[in-house]
Assembly symmetry: none
Homo-oligomer: 159 residues x 2
Amino acid sequence: MESELLFGEFQRSLDDRYRVGIPADLLEPMDLQSGQAVLAKERPGCLSLWNAGLWRQKMDASIKVLQGKIQAGRLEGRLNEVQQLGRLLSTRHRDVKLSDRGRLLIPEGFREFLQVEPGDDAMVIGAAVCVEIWRPNAWVDYLNQRMPRFSKLFDKLVE
Amino acid sequence: MESELLFGEFQRSLDDRYRVGIPADLLEPMDLQSGQAVLAKERPGCLSLWNAGLWRQKMDASIKVLQGKIQAGRLEGRLNEVQQLGRLLSTRHRDVKLSDRGRLLIPEGFREFLQVEPGDDAMVIGAAVCVEIWRPNAWVDYLNQRMPRFSKLFDKLVE
DNA sequence: ATGCTTTGTGGGAATTCAACCCATCCAGTG
DNA sequence: CACTGGATGGGTTGAATTCCCACAAAGCAT
């Protein structure tokens, strides 16, 4: 299904209406059907943009696991937690449609999460299976914290 | 495949457009196909430049493995980790193409990492399997710190 | 219902930046 | 002392990105 992995780091700026241009290098391999995509809240200062089909796969897999656990009675006493999870899942993502030349309008509710103002810069990052949009600050913080463990993670996934 | 090892230490200056000339003594043995190369962030103050083919041996092979695993669905439940790895891979290296007489344009994002301003000097070092570009400061610091252990390392690798 | 305001979309103009190419400068050499 | 090859600087072109404005759609108040 999805063949190409997404890589690359780009600096982009938001225009006065909270739009970012997604670079062609990342947009093409994403292979969006008429611009249909899913935008998700990843962590404060970071959003992720998914091919709608791939997102569905990802969600289905998680939901299947959850369903299995419920049926096995393993979450018996924790139904309220499941309910809470369901609630969070609802706000965590939203369908979006990229306009003409691959421009993404960051919707209300996601702007605050990303903590950006119109005109601010943003980093657009290829994250193998999706594209991420970072507040520059959050990005460098993340790198400083996470880069040291890079090779361990790399080995784990490749071996 | 690659036979010649790269050695030599050269001082070069960045012009006002962030270009460095790679000395012919290093460029020739690198044997780049139409200037195709890979630039990687080695450590703050140091970038490394690789023959694209050699880099592929080093890294792309692993990425192919990863890609294969994903397509086989073997990382279905671990997309998070793949995503995380992808992120880190994205900042770490970048395809570059050396222009006319082996001049390298240091791309946005690598300039800050190397901590250079236009017009600054840089050291261009043959590191056996690749060429490194150092901020002069970082280079002497590294030498001061590392040189004492040089002979031990030398013996270890040669014996 | 109508007009005003806010928000999203499209696209053109302006600007920035890298690729390309050539000119100059300098050192080493015959 | 002219010549050669490498290093550096700079102009021009062309593409990509940003800035900005006009238009459309939706929401709100009168």
